[in-house]
């Protein structure tokens, strides 16, 4: 009797939250899929529109460029910052808080101020002017510079997350290893190359997966800085179709393709991870960030 009640409790505890998640995400996703297959009757016309749209391919390539470069930037910086925090641990509260600050500010607040910095008559061009340089069109639609601005601002905002994940990894490396390497005559660079990076791999993997997914989903950074048309990515492309072009079904087709795109990439990465012998269990920590 008790046993049955226990099982009932556990079923309830497991399935209630999962049902809630399904109602909020899986059901809408599925109904989006159904709507995307409807163009005055069941058809692939919406997908065909998207695939024949130059803007879609432009958004796809921007998506990949932004995600790739932003990941490179935030991982180089994140590793540097994590090493810095690890080295100065506890001694400089100012540095510690400053590292986190860009992420602690609500995203939209950060983006709003980034926009004021990058506007043609914004603070960055003002600073350039005061040292006698001409300003640049940091946000000019369709330019490489606008794409670069999006990448840098995105990295600026999320590097703290990467830093924290990597710092967590650094703290698990026993200091004896460094001492041994030092006695063997390894310099700082060699210690980084042969001790830190290999042992950081699990943390790096978690951070990479988490940030890779977020970088592909990028939406608000683009919308606030350049507008949906300035440096289109798949999210803003779908949003434009939905809110301006009033073509909800085509918009759903575009967003379904983004979801599939992300799911496929994640499956590949997780699959590689499993094949290289890593335990899937160790990667749950990325979920909390």
């Amino acid at each position: 009797m008790k046993n049955r009640r226990g099982r009932l409790l556990n079923l309830c505890f497991l399935w209630l939250p999962l049902a809630y998640l399904a109602a909020q995400f899986a059901f809408p996703l599925a109904s989006g899929l159904v709507m995307s297959l409807n163009a005055g009757g069941p058809s692939f016309a919406n997908y065909s529109f998207v695939l024949h749209d130059r803007l879609f391919w432009h958004a796809c390539s921007n998506n990949l460029i932004v995600a790739g470069l932003s990941l490179c930037l935030e991982f180089s910086l994140g590793l540097l910052f994590a090493l810095l925090l690890h080295a100065t641990r506890g001694r400089s509260l100012l540095v510690e808080i400053s590292v986190l600050l860009p992420f602690l500010i609500p995203e939209i607040v950060f983006l709003s101020i980034a926009r004021y910095i990058l506007l043609p008559r914004g603070y960055l061009n003002g600073a350039l002017l005061s040292v006698g340089l001409d300003g640049l069109g940091w946000l000019n639609p369709g330019s490489w510079l606008a794409l670069l601005s999006v990448i840098v601002v995105d990295a600026w905002h999320v590097t703290p997350v990467v830093t924290l994940l990597l710092l967590g990894g650094l703290q698990t490396i026993p200091s004896e290893l460094y001492e041994a390497a030092y006695l063997d005559g390894a310099g700082p660079v060699a210690r980084l190359r042969y001790v830190t990076v290999p042992l950081l791999r699990p943390a790096l993997f978690a951070a990479l997966l988490l940030r890779g997914v977020d970088a592909l989903r990028i939406f608000s950074t683009v919308l606030v800085l350049t507008g949906a048309e300035g440096a289109p990515v798949l999210s803003t492309y779908a949003y434009q179709l939905w809110s301006d072009a009033l073509e909800p079904q085509i918009a759903m087709a575009a967003s379904v393709m983004l979801a599939l795109f992300i799911a496929a990439l994640a499956a590949v990465v997780l699959g590689l991870r499993r094949r290289s012998g890593g335990r899937a269990e160790t990667s749950w920590e990325y979920l909390t960030a």
């Binding site: 043609p120 069109g137 946000l139 507008g227 949906a228 434009q240 301006d244 009033l246 073509e247």
Partner: protein, 390 residues
């Protein structure tokens, strides 16, 4: 949750009236601030008519979707809906013909074009609620003599590259900036590759290299911000642009409005705003008609101007500062034109937007960009009512 439910039941139980009171449900695209002020006008109607009014605020897009859904279902809750002027053609089959007596209202409340836009096949379907049109906004300190015709506009762009902006984002606003040029050349959106239409587009394509580089993403408010910051000296916008600039202390001291530059075949500006209609599925259409009559009195219209800041009766009864601020808009009042009224307008507009982006920002020749949509655009079943009176 349960508590709220219980409260709801109790309140519902106690409040249920035994005698059915007359009630009216209206959907309007008002922002929260506007809705507060609009409710006062509704309260007056309630006390005059004894009809209870429930105001639901939604975006224009959502109202249109609601209207279509209720029409399909054959029953609905809305008695009156506000629709964007650009979607009237699309909404026509879902709304009722209005009694001719509505037209007995003071016709002078709105320009004649604005009334005609609400008529289709000589029947009134839509009543103007708030109408507006575009004029040219210019920085009087940088541009003491604003360009008055196309040639002067071209000279301005060559002399000051980057200082003219158009709203070129992929949205309806792009057509509000471009359509007047097409009309001023004698062309039409319905005939994308007619000689006159191409004259206008070639003129704009000639200006394109000198446009402000952010034109491809500008919308009403972002271009206005650029004007306020001095990044842009001339652009085209709605009357609320002057209100914005005045509130910032940047008009009339720095910015003023002027007519849109004269084209080879005349002058034109685009009519915009919201129209009211009674859905086919309205439960209380008679009360809705009553409300329309109340709304179309000059007293109420005057309150819409003073309390809500709408420009319906422009340019009457304005103080000196307003006369100065809205001078360009007053002068454009005689040159209003509506965008094509047709069921497929949204698709037409989307295809035009894409073509314009290609012409203005990617250097595609106009004839190449527009060719693919010409045959289709020319064959659409347009309503004739919104054509300018000859």
């Amino acid at each position: 949750m349960c508590v709220a439910l219980a409260f709801g039941l109790i309140a519902g139980g106690c409040g249920a009236p035994h005698v059915p009171r007359r009630s009216l449900t209206v959907a309007m695209a008002l922002l929260p601030g506007e809705a507060i002020r609009y409710r006062k006008i509704l309260a007056d109607f309630e006390s005059v008519s004894g009809t209870e009014v429930q105001l639901v605020t939604e975006t224009y897009g959502d109202i249109l979707h609601l209207l279509e859904a209720e029409s399909r279902a054959g029953r609905g809750r809305f008695d009156l809906v506000e629709l964007d002027i650009a979607t009237l053609g699309q909404a026509r089959n879902d709304v009722r013909e209005l009694a001719p007596s509505i037209l007995a209202a003071d016709r002078k409340l709105f320009p004649e074009t604005a009334w005609r836009v609400g008529m289709m096949a000589n029947q009134l379907y839509f009543v103007p609620h708030r109408i507006m049109w575009q004029a040219m906004i210019y920085n009087r300190l940088k541009v003491p003599k604003p360009p008055t015709n196309w040639e002067e506009l071209a000279n301005f762009v060559h002399a000051h590259p980057g200082k003219l902006a158009i709203k070129g984002a992929l949205y309806e606003g792009t057509l509000c900036d471009v359509a007047p040029f097409i009309w001023e050349a004698g062309g039409a959106m319905e005939q994308p590759t007619s000689t006159d239409t191409l004259t206008a587009l070639d003129f704009l394509a000639g200006l394109a290299p000198g446009l402000n580089p952010r034109s491809a993403v500008f919308r009403e408010m972002s271009v206005l911000e650029a004007q306020a910051r001095g990044e842009v000296w001339i652009h085209f916008n709605w009357p609320f642009a002057m209100t914005y600039l005045r509130d910032k202390g940047l008009a009339p001291s720095v910015n003023l409005s002027a007519p849109i530059p004269l084209g080879p075949k005349g002058r034109a500006t685009v009519l915009g705003g919201g129209y009211l209609a009674i859905p086919r599925s309205a439960p209380n259409p008679d009360d809705a008609q009553l409300f329309l009559r109340f709304l179309l009195t000059s007293d109420v219209q005057q309150r819409l101007v003073t309390d809500l800041g709408w420009q319906n009766t422009l340019p009457t009864r304005w103080n000196q500062q307003a006369t100065l601020l809205y001078a360009g808009f007053s002068q454009m009042r005689a040159y209003l034109r509506a965008r094509p009224e047709v069921q497929d307008y949204q698709v037409l507009s989307n295809r035009w937007q894409r073509a314009l982006a290609a012409i203005l920002f990617e250097g595609t020749p106009a004839v190449v960009a527009l060719k693919p949509l010409t045959a289709w655009a020319e064959s659409l079943p347009y309503e004739e009512s919104a054509r300018p009176a000859s």
